[in-house]
Amino acid sequence: MTARTLLDKLWDAHEILRRADGMSLLWVDRHLVHEGSHHGFAKLAARGLPLAAPELTFAVVDHYAPTKNRDAIADPAIARMIDTLRQNAAQHGVRLYDLFDPHQGIVHVVGPEQGITLPGLLINCGDSHTSTHGAFGALAFGIGATEVAHVLATQTIWQRKPKAMRITVDGSLPLGVTAKDIALAWISKLGTDGAQGHAVEYTGSAIRALSMEGRMTLCNLSIEGGARFGMIAPDDVTADYVQGRPLAPKGTDWDAARADWATLHSDRDARFDRELTLDAADIAPTVTWGTSPEQALPITATIPNPDDLDPAKAKAAAEALDYMGLRPGTPIEGTAVDQVFIGSCTNGRIEDLRAAAAVLRGRRAKVPGLISPGSAQIKAQAEAEGLDRVFTDAGLDWAAAGCSMCVGMNGDLVAEGKRCASSTNRNFRGRQGRGARTHLMSPAMVAAAAVTGCLTDLRKLSGGMG
């Protein structure tokens, strides 16, 4: 039998049929929906079709979830978006993690937390960061509204199999360097379209050493390098995370699942269409300087001069620097920030909050900031550990869970021209608000920026290395 990649195995396990033109019809094990899925539900209603598999569909309030004053939502457009999801979930018999549910949170945090996400599943959601779930060895990818309607109506999806790409990271990550930095490092190397058309499998000793939280951060950011899919073969770290979750398999099902999951890895001789190898030791705490995640540099670097760049990228770089209000040739470290944000499906998990708290403990932030945990459960856990006090003692706001300032749909925005150190996934123009200037980095690096009021190499701060 020919050697297969993890992608091959997951694809084969879900392929109902393949047309002569190469398009595969795939079975969808889990469909996650949120307020933004309203277009998909509207298309279903327009056809008068029932939901194919309510028991495999899960709804979460996250994109528009207020992080404060949930009792009285001031903006009627936001209230309407949430009510529409409630109506659609109720009408179709879908489990909804609503605003006051103790398990509410960001869809890509809640799925894993509740055991909705498992190795070996195909998971779809109308959100590009669905690649997050690939951290469990799942085939997980974001879809648009027409595809959402298709999954709602048929529990299947058409897809052409992507090419297989492997990113190997061997060695030990230096202190203060995280999964976020691995992601920004490879994306800055290959570009935001570097992995277009590919499914990325991450492997190597540095990946094996990551916690599930770190693996989720890495797979989450795959889409920022153009890959609709990111994945990591499941191992004991994965199983330990999954076991005992509310919707995870139990008893004999658990044993059968473990046996199946043990086969979910790329065979030794499996061929990949593309390979990239990184040495973990070469990766430094990384920050973005521009308006695309590929415009990232080690914190020790200087802001590039567009004239020195690849001519194809020079114009975009000059425009980005203009938008960001930065001068070429000056060190990126020391750039003054106006505010900070920690949260999002990328870096809003408990490990992220612990890393930020390790930097902030006993210190005061020089700039205001918002911390929105990835889920209500993480919020409760952080409070049990006293992390909320570390943040509020530092002068930062501790709020409820949701997508919040990563995308600003709930009204948590960065004002025009303001500079924000952010643990999120996109530094696009206007992403955090019209004219907002976003610098992406790890949560600990955001915390370091809060302490000094400027972009800072956290390795220079005591406690930052934890």
């Binding site: 396990a13 933004g36 277009h39 028991e55 498992l118 529990q155 299947t156 699942a257």
Partner: protein
């Protein structure tokens, strides 16, 4: 969705790389129902000043009749928001020509009758050159995957399955319903061989 085979219109140059879906339609407009129309939101913050007035120097603003957008690499990268495609369609755009597209965007585009025409670097440079003086007539053929501008005949790349889908205006749900027996059989078998793949009963 109506299919189409050829399109004749005006092409306009938008020489920017990585126009992501957040730029195509900023998040704050996404609570709008589709029936209200998304055309006015297209590239809202790039096209308009802080007061909401159209910037006279922005390419698209001088050519409201343009139906083909010629732009640079990474068009539609980022978020899966199909609203980005709605904004283009509702603004009258039928085809976007670029060296590369975000994977999810391209798929959303085809699902709504919008052509994401990929061109190689040389072709792209030729088209950009032809549009330096301003918008120009263009003819797009899905049948032979070609673009015609004056005497120029240039190729573009598109998945064959997508070309057929655009031409026929197919809706995947209709197609998929023909495979119901296969789908039901697959689900039954998966339930038998991998019962763990269904959510466990809550304790």
């Amino acid at each position: 969705m109506a299919g189409w085979t050829t399109h004749q219109g005006q092409a306009v140059l938008l020489p920017l790389a990585n126009i992501d879906t957040d730029q195509l339609i900023p998040a704050r407009f996404m609570s709008t129902p589709r029936s209200a129309g998304y055309g006015d939101y297209l590239l809202y913050d790039l096209r308009r000043d802080a007061g909401g007035a159209l910037r006279p120097d922005f390419p698209l603003n001088g050519t409201p009749q343009a139906s083909v957008l010629v732009t640079r690499r990474g068009f539609g990268s980022g978020s899966s928001r199909e609203a980005a495609v709605y904004a283009l369609i509702d603004a009258g755009i039928r085809a976007v020509i670029a060296p590369s597209f975000g994977d999810i965007f391209a798929s959303n585009a085809v699902n709504n009758g919008l052509l994401p025409a990929r061109v190689d670097a040389q072709t792209h440079a030729t088209i950009e050159g032809a549009l330096q003086a301003g918008a120009a007539d263009i003819s797009v053929s899905l049948q032979d995957k070609s673009l015609r501008m004056g005497d120029l005949v240039l190729p573009f790349q598109l998945d064959d399955a997508w070309a057929l889908k655009l031409q026929n205006g197919w809706d995947d749900i209709d197609l998929t319903q023909h495979h119901k027996t296969d789908i039901d059989g697959f689900a039954r078998q998966r339930h038998q061989t991998a019962p763990w793949a269904w959510p466990a009963a809550m304790d």
